[in-house]
C-alpha cells in the first residue's frame, strides 16, 4: 500500500497558505482578499486532516477541528461579505485602497 507522505500534504498546505497570504496582502479587490483568506483557511484544513490521518500521533480530533474551521470560515466570510455590501452601498467601490477616509 503506497500512500502519499505527510510532508507532501504539509507542503501543499503551506503553498496554498502562502498563496492565500500573498493574495490577501496584495490584492486590491476586497472580494478577492476574502477569497484568499478562505484559501488560507483551507490550507489549515488540509493540514488538520493530513495530521489527523498521517501525523505522528494520528487522532480523529483533527477532523473535528477542521469542521469547526469550516464553519468559522463560513461565518467569517458571511460577515465579511455583509460588511462589504454595506461599504459598497455607501462608497460604490470594492477597492481596498479607497477605504481610506480616515487616514491622515
Amino acid at each position: 500500500m503506497t500512500s502519499i507522505p505527510l510532508s507532501a500534504y504539509l507542503t501543499l498546505a503551506l503553498i496554498l497558505f502562502c498563496l492565500g497570504l500573498y493574495g490577501a496582502l496584495t490584492k486590491k479587490n476586497i472580494v478577492i482578499v476574502l477569497l484568499c483568506v478562505e484559501l488560507m483557511l483551507n490550507a489549515v484544513n488540509i493540514n488538520l486532516v493530513a495530521f489527523s490521518k498521517l501525523g505522528p500521533v494520528p487522532s480523529i480530533t483533527g477532523q473535528v477541528f477542521s469542521l469547526f474551521t469550516i464553519s468559522v470560515a463560513a461565518a467569517e466570510v458571511a460577515v465579511g461579505l455583509a460588511i462589504l455590501l454595506a461599504l459598497y452601498r455607501n462608497k460604490k467601490s470594492v477597492n481596498i485602497q479607497e477605504v481610506n477616509t480616515m487616514r491622515h
Binding site: G20, L34, N47, L48, F51, G55, P56, T61, L87, V99
Partner: protein, 506 residues
Amino acid sequence: MDIETLLSFNWGAMMPEFIILGVLTVLCIIDLLMPAKYSRRSLGWFAIAGVLVAIVSLLSLIPLETTSILYDTFRLDSFAKAFKLVLLFGMLLVLLLAESYRPGEGIEETRGEFYYLFLTALLGTMVMASSGDLITLFVGLELLSVSSYILAGIRKRHLQSNEAAMKYVINGSIATAITLFGMSYLYGLTGTTNLTEMGSMMEQMLNSQFQYLFGVAFFMMLVGFSFKIASAPFHMWAPDVYQGAPTPVTAFLSVISKAAGFIIMLRIIIFLYVEAPGDAVGAFDFMEINHVYIAVLAGVTMVIGNVVALRQSNIKRMLAYSSIAHAGYLLVSIATLGYFTSSIIWFYLVAYMLMNVGAFAIVQHMQEKTGSTEIDSYAGLYKSNPLLAVTMSIFLLSMAGIPGTAGFIGKMYIFIGTFSVNPSNYVLAATLIGTTVISYVYYIGVMKQMFFRPAFEQGNPNRGRIAPSLLIVLSICVLGTIIFGIIPGIALDFLGEFKQFDDFVE
C-alpha cells in the same frame, strides 16, 4: 456520551456562560418579535441586568475548586475566574456606554443587535478564558472576532463605520488564518487538542525538528494574539477601526477584546510553552530562549504606539495609539514571565479598563454634544464643564501613569515583575519608562486643550446634560481609578483570593 456522563458534569461551573447565553438568546428573540415601532432602549438595561447576574454567579463560584467539565474542554480554574470577572465587569461598563449611545442617526434600526452582539462577543471571551482545549479556544476567539466585526460596522449607513468594519474583517481574518495555521501544527505534532495533554507531550519532545515546528506554531499564533491585543506589527488596524467604530464598540475593542487577547496568550504560553524544551537536550525551556522576541515586540509596540500618538489630532486615534502602547506595556510583563505575570496582567487590565472606558465615555459624550472627535473640540471644556474636564484629566493621568492613579500601580507592578526575574531585562524596562515619558506629552496635550484653550464660539455646546448611564460609568471609573491608585490593596488582596493562580500554573 450518554445522559449519565452528561449529568455527572458540574454544570454549575458554567453558570455565568449559561446566563449570558440565555440572556442574549432571549434578547435576540425579543428584538425580533417586538414591533418595529417600539424603542429598543430598554433591551440595554436587560442586557446589563444579565451581565450583573452573571457577575454574581461568578462571584459565588469563586470558592469552588478547580473544575473541568466536558472532558477538560472547559476549565474553571482561578485564572478563568479572575479574568472572567474582569471581562464581565468591563462588559458592564461598555454596555452602560452602549445604553446611552445616541449618535444621531444610524443606530436605532440595529439597536437590538447592538446589545446582544456585545453579549455574544462577551460569551466568546469567557469561553476563551476558561477553555482547556484548542478547539474551544479557537471557537471562543472567533465568536469574539465575528461579533466584533459586526459591531464595528453596526452603523450601516455611516461610511467610517463601514470602513472600520471592513478593515477589521480583513485584518482579523488574515490574522485568524495565520493563528489557525499555527494551531494546526501544534495539533499535528501532539495529536491532541487538549491543552494539558498537549503541554505534557511537548515537554517530552526533544526532537529539534519538532521544536522548530513548535517555534513556527508559536510565532504564527503570536500573530493572531498580537492582532487581538493590537500590538506591533499587527496594530495597523487599530487606529482606523477605533476611529470609525461607534464609541462603545471602540471601548469594547480596546478593553475587552484586548483583555481576551492577553488571556488567550497567557493560557497558550503557560499551558504549552513554559515547560516545553527549547533546545535538543532540554537544557533550556522554550520561553527562556524565545522571550527575547516577545521583548522586541513589546519594545517596538511601545515605541510605535507612543511616538505615533504624538501626531494625532483625533482623540479616538490618539487613544488607539495609546492603547497600542498599553499593549506594549503588558507585553513587557509577558516577555519577562515570572511569578507575578498573571497577577500583573490582571491588575493592569483592571486599571486599564477603568481608565480607558472612562475616557471613551467622555469621548462619546463629547461626540454627541459637539459632533466631533477632534482633540480641538475639547478646547475650553474646563470652562464649560469643569467636572468633565477634571474627570477626563484623571483618566489621562492614569494612562500616563502618574502616581495616585491605578495606572501607576499597574506600571509599578510591571516593573516589579520585570525586575524580580533573573536576569532582568533592563533595556525593556528602560524602553517602557522612556516611552511613558513620551506619552506624557500627548496626554497632557489633551489636558492643555481642556484647561487652557478658549472654547470655540459655536454657542457653547458642551454644557450638555450627561446621560444617567454615562454618569454611572464615569463615577465607577473615576472612583476605581483613584481608589486603586491610592489603596490598591483592595484589588491586590482580592487577587490573593486566587492564590497567585497556583492551580493554573501548576
